[in-house]
């Protein structure tokens, strides 16, 4: 369902400046041909099995690559021992010494080595590389390598960590005065653990040596130009020698934003050494054990309110665990910090965020990018305050939610496209929130009043129904559209539109398709501007030797930012052609192409007018606009087992403009289910810094039977800075479901779960007042690791050194398929 928001019903507050950016003209928003919404462009190939994902690509003579990884969380690497009894002439071995360029994975900070030189900082860290012509030889070889190491003390608790990756502070008003003025101060600490992106296609890269001494990468990725940059530096290649081509990509969700760089470099090092193509295809176990996860976080709130419900002070502290290396942690923390207060106007605010290093595998990008963690905490706090005040969570949000002209903690005045109220009302209405809440509340009150009177065992039906408690819960979210702060200005992305001399029209961007619909909406947007059917617009392949750097495919920026560039390029092309020919583009572009030998428009991003952010003071317009969303979840909690079944979720999402409603709903539905998984079952458990449940048999994601009925309501409150008004949709729906589900569990049971996920163990612990399971996100320490270490310990048996899960009693070996 798509709802288009009319001009705001609430007048700007008097002190708000006049909207400084132009309002969209009639005709700027989707009209004409694009109304008919094209089918997914690469859909037929995906549906008939001809779409070529990385592992489907065949390169004759290719060898198989393998990464040898650490089996300790922190250790000195003393040496790499090759078993002399093995014939090493059949295998290629690459260590840090063999890296031609800098031994760093180029990103924000030079700290993460491509291969360990002396210090191992996390479990499953890449130490050396192997390649062989067949898998059997490779398997044998990897069992003949020993890592000689000396253990070092490891840090697992972020609150005890001393190394900081980043910190941010936001302040508004006077926090101490606000807390002093408040009639009630409500405190809460909320913890979230790691979450795995769990794209169904594992990470995969194939490196092919080039005649010019460089290397071509074919792989599964979100950001070809990240890999391009990292490859050039690691292998000392020129722009032209490093070519990166995206294969069909089976999901990313942030997990293929930065991590693919290291895999591509590994494959390229082996390929360069061998002079043959090398396939570096991760299996699920390696992908789970080694690649990045969502950052665990500990968020503490102190909120000052008046008894009549007024919000007067928010004091918030965020601590994120970055893992062993920086990756994108500062940017994740920044977004988390900026969103930590939730979408609420508050006169006195202090938000402090810091991200620290622990000896666990590095955490990185995942849909929402810091916001789901802090918004979970913010919404938990709102729901708990509503309970404390005896108010409806809906009514409290109506009073607090940002309206036009309000000021955020970074000093940003919300001048347009503010739809928090709208999504709140839409979701509440569609889910019948108040009516259901009254019913579930009455049942809960009756049950708690009669507690102790367990259902009579003679009445089976009554007993069964009383074992299941129903509840409803709500959460409201906001999500800054595009890159944080001055990010888009620094990126200066380019998108191009090409009219070849033979009249073919082609969109050239580095923006990747990973299921979200890039390849469908870009031709749609260009066609709409040009007055042509979308089938007449081609999409160039995501190949760095062909397309410009349109910035990374992240941050829900593709439709909004790059889509905007495509529209602008098309508008310019149309104007140029029509000025020249004096006739409509559709009637004259073929003739123009022949006469002028084609035309190419390179459209570079220009800063949105009147959007300014100061990185030094961390103040200003943190985002050009925000998406707004509200989720209402209904659950059933089994009071015997503590198990939660999420029955339904209504998600109302303001995305500015639904360019393609079917694809946009798909984003909302998928993001909602990832949020439900985050809320209920998805948890990485760690022992000695090692992920315990590093298999799909033990890291669970929702199946069709776990998934709720999801109703997506698209709300359109356009952003005038983007030519189509779109604000992005990918991440927004991930921000609210966790808090909505936990609120529904509370509505059903009367207990609050402060730590995610709300597993049966945590629910039962809360219901029965027994100690909860270990805190999420923090490694426990095994008895073995506390034994005195020998002075020079090797990595154990070869099996142990290579299998990151040598003796996992809590993770029973699942059934495995027959080996070829």
């Amino acid at each position: 369902m798509t709802v288009t928001t009319r001009p705001p019903r609430v007048a700007p507050r008097p002190e708000a400046p006049v909207a400084p950016v132009r309002a969209p003209d009639v005709g700027d928003l989707g009209v004409g041909l694009a109304r008919s919404f094209p089918l997914r462009r690469e859909g037929p190939a995906k549906l008939n099995g001809t779409a070529m994902y990385t592992d489907d690509l065949v390169f004759p003579g290719a060898w198989y690559g393998q990464t040898i990884r650490s089996s300790e969380p922190h250790a000195r690497l003393l040496g790499i021992e090759l078993d002399p009894a093995f014939d090493w002439s059949k295998v290629v071995v690459v260590t840090a010494r063999d890296i031609p360029g800098d031994n760093y994975v180029s990103l924000l900070t030079d700290d993460q080595p491509i291969l360990v030189t002396d210090e191992i900082r996390h479990h499953s860290e890449p130490v050396c590389l192997l390649a062989a012509s067949d898998r059997q030889t490779l398997r044998e070889a990897k069992h003949r390598i020993r890592l000689l190491t000396e253990p070092l003390p490891a840090v697992f608790d972020p609150l005890e960590a001393t190394q900081e990756f980043a910190h941010f502070a936001l302040a508004k008003g006077d926090i101490e005065a606000g807390l002093a003025e408040a009639e009630l101060v409500i405190e809460g600490t909320y913890r979230v653990g790691h979450q795995e992106q769990l794209y169904i296609e594992n990470n995969a890269m194939i490196a092919v040596p080039r005649p010019d001494g460089g290397v071509t990468i074919h792989g599964s990725m979100q950001c070809p130009y990240y890999i391009h940059k990292a490859l050039k530096r690691a292998l000392r290649l020129s722009d032209a020698q490093a070519v990166v081509i995206q294969a069909e990509t089976g999901g990313g969700f942030g997990g293929k934003e930065e991590y693919p760089s290291i895999i591509a470099i590994h494959a390229a090092l082996l390929a360069q050494r061998l002079g043959k193509p090398v396939r570096m295809i991760y299996d699920r176990h390696e992908d789970l054990a080694a690649t990045t996860k969502r950052h665990p976080a500990i968020v503490t709130h102190r909120t000052g309110v008046m008894r009549d419900g007024r919000l007067v002070a928010q004091d918030i502290e965020v601590v994120m665990d970055g893992g062993a290396y920086c990756t994108l942690t500062p940017v994740v923390l920044s977004r988390g910090t900026l969103h930590a207060g939730g979408p609420y106007a508050c006169p006195n605010v202090r938000i402090r965020g810091r991200a620290v290093a622990t000896n666990t595998p590095p955490n990185g990008a995942f849909r929402g990018f810091g916001a789901p963690q802090t918004e979970f905490a913010a919404e938990m706090q709102v729901n708990r305050i509503a309970e404390t005040l005896g108010m409806s969570p809906l009514e409290l949000r109506r009073r607090w939610v940002y309206r036009l002209g309000d000021e955020t903690p970074s000093g940003q005045i919300l001048r347009e496209s503010v739809a928090g109220e709208e999504v709140l009302e839409r979701a509440a209405e569609a889910a019948e929130f108040e009516r259901t809440r009254v019913q579930t509340g009455r049942v809960r009150t009756d049950r708690l009043a009669g507690s102790g009177s367990v259902a009579r065992s003679s009445d089976v039906l009554s007993s069964a129904s009383q074992k299941v408690a129903r509840g409803i819960g709500m959460a409201l979210g906001w999500h800054g559209a595009g890159f944080t702060g001055s990010g888009e200005v620094k990126l200066a992305s380019v998108a191009s539109l090409e009219l070849s001399s033979d009249g073919r029209l082609r969109v050239l961007t580095g923006s990747t398709e990973m299921g979200q619909g890039t390849k469908t909406i870009f031709p749609q947007l260009a066609a709409e501007q040009l007055g042509l059917p979308e089938s007449s617009i081609e999409m160039a392949p995501q190949d760095t030797s062909i397309v410009p750097d349109s910035g990374p495919t992240v941050a829900s920026r593709t439709a909004m930012v790059v889509g905007g560039l495509v529209i602008q390029a098309a508008a310019r092309m149309r104007a140029l052609v029509e000025d020249s020919t004096g006739r409509p583009f559709a009637d004259s572009y073929l003739e123009y192409a022949t006469e002028h030998d084609g035309l190419r428009i390179d459209q570079q991003f220009e800063p949105y007018p009147n959007v300014n952010f100061d990185d030094e003071t961390y103040r200003g317009d943190a985002y050009p606009a925000y998406g707004w969303a509200c989720a209402v979840a209904e659950v059933e909690v089994d009071l015997d087992t503590g198990e939660t079944q999420v029955r339904s979720v209504v998600s109302a999402d303001d995305i500015g403009k639904a360019i393609h409603p079917v694809l946009a709903e798909g984003q909302v539905e998928g993001g909602t289910l990832q949020g439900v998984g985050y809320a209920t079952i998805e948890e990485i458990k760690l022992v000695d810094g090692r992920y315990l449940n590093d298999r799909l048999a033990t890291y669970l994601i929702p199946t069709s039977l776990d998934a709720p009925r999801i109703e997506a309501i698209l709300v359109e409150s356009p952003f005038s800075g983007a030519p189509h008004g779109a604000k992005g949709v990918g991440e927004l729906p991930m921000d609210m479901p966790a808090a909505a589900v936990v609120a529904a569990i509370h509505d059903a049971t009367g207990v609050w779960i402060h730590d995610l996920p709300a597993t049966p163990e945590r629910v039962l612990a809360a219901l029965h007042g027994i100690p909860p399971p270990p805190l999420p996100g923090i490694s426990t320490i095994s008895a073995r690791s506390t034994e005195p270490a020998p002075s020079a310990q090797d990595a154990g048996t070869p099996e142990e050194a290579l299998d990151p899960r040598p003796d996992a009693e809590t993770d029973p070996q699942p059934l495995r398929g027959p080996q070829p």
Binding site: L39, R40, E42, G43, P44, A45, K46, L47, N48, G49, A51, M52, Y53, D55, D56, Q197, L198, Y199, I200, E201, N202, E248, T249, G250, G251, G252, D283, R284, M514, G515, Q516, G517, V662, L663, E665, G666, E669, G670, G671, T672, L673, Q674, R695, L696, A697, I701, T703, S704, L705, A707, R709, I710, A712, P814, L815, R816, G817, P818, Q819, P820
Partner: protein
């Protein structure tokens, strides 16, 4: 030893170890890369194919077990260049996003339709419970399968 079976209507003979995974036989020996590997341990269903009309995870089936049987993969759902009613429904309703679970999901859906499955939400959920999708939240997949069951069989 040579194993003889039928794949998508064609008889094939493979001289491979009997414990070679059907998944590898399809992808590497027969070049049918439409069938995907997601976990290699029967958890995700991306490698689902039909053996004599029943859904199996081809990563868990050794090739010796399909000797003399009929195997259907995504490539065999429709004549080359075409789409069956399920594929068409997935395309129109947004049932495929990243596409990596799609071939396996289609095979599970095909078995459901072929066994006379009705457009009933709970039943469709049960039928695809062994096939993980991380993109769609299953909503549009279920809608597409329901549409295909009502539109008729191919």
């Amino acid at each position: 030893m040579t194993y003889r079976f039928n794949v998508n209507g064609d008889d094939v003979a493979l001289d491979v170890p009997g414990m070679r995974r059907l998944l590898d036989a399809l992808r590497e020996d027969l070049g049918l890369t439409g069938t995907k590997e997601g976990c290699g341990e029967g958890e995700c269903g991306a490698c689902s194919v039909l053996v004599d009309g029943e859904v199996v995870d081809s990563c868990l089936v050794p090739v010796c077990q399909v000797d003399g049987r009929e195997v259907l993969t995504v490539e065999g759902l429709a004549p080359q260049g075409g789409m069956d009613i399920l594929q068409q429904a997935f395309l129109e309703r947004g049932g495929a996003q990243c596409g990596i679970c799609t071939p396996g999901m289609l095979m599970a859906a095909r078995a459901y339709v072929d066994h006379g499955g009705a457009p009933v939400d709970e039943d469709i959920r049960e039928a695809i419970a062994g096939n993980l999708c991380r993109c769609t939240g299953y909503t549009k997949i279920i809608e597409a399968i329901a549409a295909a069951t009502t539109t008729g069989r191919t």
